[in-house]
């Protein structure tokens, strides 16, 4: 029998949602500071209005739903699912008020793309966007990459066991430290340390390539936030091509790779266990997968003679491949070039890289390397069983922070999520094809949205049908939360209607 959610369930959900909204409102103060520093009056007002609306909504929810009860699993998952949707709408307000978005749906698309670290963009006339709005576009991935709930966990919630449910609900199932709140704070510590280092590196590189110092450090901070959080937004419309610099591209590649690694790796490096990176199944799978997919891309580009020199082929091909595989979405080619020049084989290589994605417990999207590694190990185990005598006992192990025995439960879980991703890539492509886009282009864009990549072959634009925009928003949301929270909210809605 399905039980209908009680009023108490709704109150708990509303209370924690209110707290998360207040956390989000807090982050909007940063663009206000930037707007005041650069003397941008109207952008400051846009954020002031958004903060007021957010605080109003957050306070109302907290006051109406006042409770001291903790979250259970279902409530935790529903809070997370809803908080991403509410954050999308509230975060879209300042963007829409900027006048750089045709309709509110476009601003919602941009915000969801940012929070989910995707990077697909519908902004118009980006080159004239204010510093404050531009910072907000890049702050979105930094907030969403670490996890919206992580903000609440770090600053607003203290010692609650419900915190862990929200943490898991955001697609993370690894605790770095025994306490989930300490884990959340450690994730922030890592991210802010890298933010300082990355901004300095990109800022100095920017000055060396002729950008004015203030602009250079602003671009450095923005590109770092969107690169480390594998989002792929950039302050200018040409994305990374704007800089025309190999040095800038190399630094960006390093940032993208670092951002797509498991936070557990960073923790291991932090405590001095450097060997982990060479032994871990995820890093090994990542390396092999990058090599294989780059091989496909390089053959595709070489066959068509897209680039006249091997160096140019490597520079363009490798950058785009790393951008796809880490699910960042930075580009040094124009979106239309993928279709008009790159050819089907290179595109296929990129789609594979996007679909596979980065590491679990990172800001990257896609199926993820641990799952791919586990599935490969399971296949190897099955092959061994066929080859070896019937009485032989086959045991497969792998190293991920510690030695782990390959169990059926693990393989089933990896296969379920992989299957869910593949179905979602396909469904998005189907909607694209329904609107008349060719199969490969529709699959490219759908995979890019669902795996939170952000590379575009030109479909994503303000003129695309509203249904397709909504489809990509849902794909970005479900892909970022890795389905569990989304399934829970669907179950919650079903129970609300059909339950007794």
């Amino acid at each position: 029998m399905i039980l209908k959610p009680r009023l108490e369930d709704l109150k708990i959900i509303g209370f924690y949602l209110g707290k998360i909204i207040l956390g989000l409102a807090l982050t909007m103060a940063i663009p206000i500071l930037i707007a005041l520093c650069f003397g941008e009056i109207n952008p400051a007002l846009d954020f002031f209005i958004s903060i007021e609306i957010s605080v109003l909504l957050g306070l109302l929810l907290i006051k109406i739903c006042q409770t001291d009860r903790d979250l259970n699993w279902m409530q935790g998952m529903v809070v997370i699912s809803l908080s991403w949707v509410v954050a999308m709408m509230l975060g879209a307000i300042p963007l829409y008020l900027s006048g750089h978005y045709k309709v509110f749906l476009d601003a919602c698309f941009e915000t969801m793309s940012g929070f989910t670290t995707t990077g697909l963009s519908l902004v118009q006339d980006l080159d004239h966007l204010s510093y404050a709005h531009n910072l907000w576009r890049h702050l979105g991935p930094f907030i969403g990459g670490q996890g919206i709930a992580i903000i609440a966990l770090s600053f607003l919630l203290k010692g609650t066991s419900g915190a862990f449910k929200m943490y898991v609900g955001e697609g993370r199932d690894e605790k770095l430290l025994p306490n989930v709140i300490n884990t959340a704070r450690f994730i922030w510590l890592i991210s802010i340390t890298y933010l300082i280092m990355g901004t300095l590196a990109l800022g100095i590189a920017g000055i060396c390539i002729g950008i004015k110092p203030i602009n250079s450090f602003f671009h450095g901070a923005c590109v770092f936030m969107a690169g480390f959080d594998t989002a792929g937004f950039a302050p200018q419309s040409q994305n990374i091509l704007y800089y025309h610099s190999l040095t800038f591209e190399i630094i960006t590649i390093v940032i993208m790779i670092v951002g797509s690694l498991n936070f557990n790796f960073h923790y291991q490096l932090w405590i001095g266990k450097r060997k982990e990176i060479f032994k871990n199944i995820e890093s090994r799978t990542f390396f092999i997968s990058i090599m294989l997919t780059f091989f496909i891309v390089a053959i595709g580009l070489n066959q068509l003679g897209v680039y006249p020199q091997a160096i140019a082929l490597f520079r363009k091909g490798f950058f785009q491949l790393i951008s796809a595989h880490t699910t960042t979405g930075y580009m040094t080619v124009y979106a239309q070039q993928f279709i008009t020049e790159w050819g089907n084989l290179a595109l296929f290589g990129l789609i594979c890289a996007m679909a596979l994605g980065g590491c679990i417990c990172s800001t990257a999207g896609g199926i993820k390397m641990l799952r791919v590694g586990v599935i490969c190990k399971a296949m190897k185990e099955d092959l061994k069983r066929i080859i070896m005598p019937e009485r032989a006992i086959v045991i497969e192990k792998f190293h991920h922070i510690k030695e782990i025995f390959l169990e059926d439960k693990l393989v089933r879980s990896a296969l379920t999520i992989t299957l869910a991703y593949i179905v979602m890539y396909g469904l998005g492509a189907l909607v694209g094809m329904f609107y008349g886009y060719p199969f490969l282009e529709a699959l490219f864009e759908s995979t890019s949205a669902a795996a939170n990549v952000g590379l575009s072959c030109g479909i994503t634009s303000t003129t695309m049908p509203a249904v397709l925009k909504v489809t990509y928003i849902i794909q970005m949301w479900a892909g970022r939360l890795e389905f569990m929270s989304v399934f829970t909210i669907l179950g919650f809605l079903f129970a609300s209607i059909e339950g007794k």
């Binding site: 009056i41 209005i49 007021e52 006051k63």
Partner: protein
């Protein structure tokens, strides 16, 4: 006047030059990107607004020019870049330039970038500082919301008492 005359002569020379094919009409960025193979190595005319920074690289400079559809990177001598007074951003509209240059689909000199190597340029519009006026509607909305927030705060205080 002399500059314009020289530019006209250069354009005429490039158009009727036997070695290279030139396109006498200004081409859009979308047209160039879409048909990059067709225009590769050809002399083209491209115009648009200078955006972002003028990035000096020794005796040359990178200037990004947006024609309203896309921005293209233009490689030019630092002497030519000196003519640029305004670049486009939130607080200013950049100078509008029309340039004649060689279009590259995948530039050998610049790691495969799609770019234009400018040979000459002409300013077709001056940039300007954009004066920002306080938006009355936004101010009103912000004050109304502030009032609503204050009301909730006062009600909360009463409830606590």
């Amino acid at each position: 006047m002399k500059k314009n005359f020289a530019l006209t002569l250069i354009i005429l020379f490039l158009i009727f030059s036997p070695q290279t094919t030139a396109f006498s009409q200004s081409l859009s960025s979308s047209e160039l990107i879409k048909n990059a193979k067709q225009y590769d190595g050809k002399i083209v005319i491209y115009s648009g607004e200078v955006i972002g920074d003028v990035m000096l690289r020794g005796e040359f400079a990178w200037v990004n020019i947006n024609d309203g559809q896309n921005a293209l990177g233009v490689w030019m001598s630092a002497a030519l870049a000196k003519e640029i007074k305004f670049t486009g951003n939130y607080k200013s509209r950049g100078d509008r330039l029309e340039m004649v240059g060689v279009f590259h689909r995948a530039c050998l000199e610049h790691g495969g970038d799609l770019d234009i190597h400018a040979q000459s340029l002409r300013k077709i519009g001056n940039g300007r500082i954009v004066k920002e006026k306080l938006n009355f509607d936004k101010t009103s909305l912000s004050l109304i919301l502030l009032g609503a927030l204050s009301l909730i705060w006062i009600l909360t205080l009463f409830k606590h008492k």
